[in-house]
Amino acid sequence: MERFLDQFFNLEVMARYLPDVAAGFVVTIQLALSVIVTGLLLGLLLAVIRAFQIRPVNWLIILFVDLYRALPPLVILIIFYFGLPFIGITMSAFVIAWIVLASVLAAFAEEIYWAGITSVNKGQWEAARSTGLGFTGTLFYVVIPQAIRMTIPPLTNRTIAITKNTALASVVTVEEMLTVAQTSLAYAANTSPLTMAAIGYLLIFFPLTMASRWVETRYAWKR
């Protein structure tokens, strides 16, 4: 027991590496929030564009979505990180991780929003159209608000699952929490920094799960 505590909860090691892990914590939060905001918005934008049923555009969207859903995020991340410089594009590792994870989230979110949009009852369309509201107006005022409410539970699940992939950014040298924790672990020859990182992830994702529950109940309506 003592050895366990010494290995995972070594206060001296923790104190020494706390500033480093805290800095990584901040990077992880920045990356996570950037991914969530842009990923969910891009996903919604794609679903809205898809609703207009312009064939060639829809093919592109479906190609994008299926590609990003099929490939493991880590593979995409590595391809972008090592591949982009070859075609003359250099971006910071943080930006690459942001773009890749936001795109992955957008791909999944698009499918979820799309399922929501198509599951809104045909009668809703007819009622709105019969009052003279056009296709776009009906989509924005009647269909999408309902689609979003319906999709909040699967959307939050998916968002949390993908946002946790910020840890993958450690592979491409982003100084996020796991990177820092692993480096510290190597220097200290002690796993306590990893314990701090685990606590850090809980600090980020626990509130996120709670927030999603709050959103679910806040915007739910009885059926």
Binding site: A127, A128, T131, G132, Y141, V142, Q146, R223
Partner: protein
């Protein structure tokens, strides 16, 4: 509720030779329908007779495969017609109410006023309140559809239609989804509308209401109008076998 369009034609709704096919199925095989101002026309018939499809052709929720529809003299089946403009003048009430579940009753009634008629929120809400009051739901403006009974929901749907001050309201089986004890409140509102001079086309199985309130009853079967006439004539002196057997099946005697 008079519009400049009224002068152009002596009919509010005119539909000529309406055909509608769904794949191989011919739902309408050439139907003519004219509705005069302030007239209440009732369309009855067995399910699958094409009566709902006919009604939905009047505001182009169904696009007729062939034929011509005019609203207050303006042909709406011709190319280049702004259907969203035309639909503001044709209210519609659905069997399943189709209220927007994410909005209050007030929101349901005022949405089109704000987004289609481009009224300011306060003006739209004033008008929506007036429409809700007219259907007896002044105190339910803040309630969401799920907090209302079926009868109340349908009255909100009627308020949504009348708030637009249309030339005609189409009712597609407005009481068919209601529990029997809630039907009366909806019919009461429809009766009040009729007395105030609203032009109405009603597809419904409420034969007693048809008898009391309709100016004309149309019996459809197999995608065609089989008989039409005054309620008195249709209900007491049915001539075709099909109408006789239909009346027998719905009244049970």
């Amino acid at each position: 509720m008079a519009h400049a369009h009224d002068i152009a034609s002596k009919f509010v709704v005119e539909a000529y030779d309406i055909h509608k096919s769904f794949g191989d199925f011919e739902a309408l095989k050439g139907v003519n329908l004219t509705v005069a101002p302030q007239e209440l026309v009732f369309i009855i018939g067995p399910s699958g007779s094409g009566k709902s499809t006919m009604l939905r052709c009047c505001n182009l929720l169904e696009q007729p495969s062939r034929g011509q529809v005019k609203i207050t003299g303006e042909e709406i089946t011709s190319r280049g017609v702004d259907i969203n403009e035309v639909r503001q003048r044709i209210g519609m009430v659905f069997q399943q109410f189709n209220l927007y579940p994410h909005m209050s009753a007030l929101g349901n009634v005022s949405l089109a006023l704000r987004k289609v008629k481009k009224m300011a929120r306060s003006e739209a809400e004033d008008r929506a309140h007036a429409a809700l009051k007219r259907v007896g739901l002044a105190d339910k403006a803040g309630n969401h559809p799920t907090e209302l009974s079926g009868g109340q929901q349908q009255r909100v749907a009627i308020a949504r239609a009348i708030a637009m001050e249309p030339d005609v309201i189409l009712f597609d089986e407005p009481t068919s989804a209601l529990d029997p004890e809630l039907v009366g409140s909806v019919l009461e509102v429809m009766r009040e509308l009729r007395e105030s001079g609203m032009t109405m086309v009603v597809v419904s199985h409420e034969m007693r209401f048809a008898r009391d309130a309709a100016d004309r009853v149309i019996f459809m079967d197999g995608g065609l109008i089989v008989e039409e006439g005054t309620p008195e004539r249709i209900f007491t002196d049915p001539r075709s076998d099909r109408l006789k057997s239909f009346l027998h099946s719905v009244t049970g005697h």
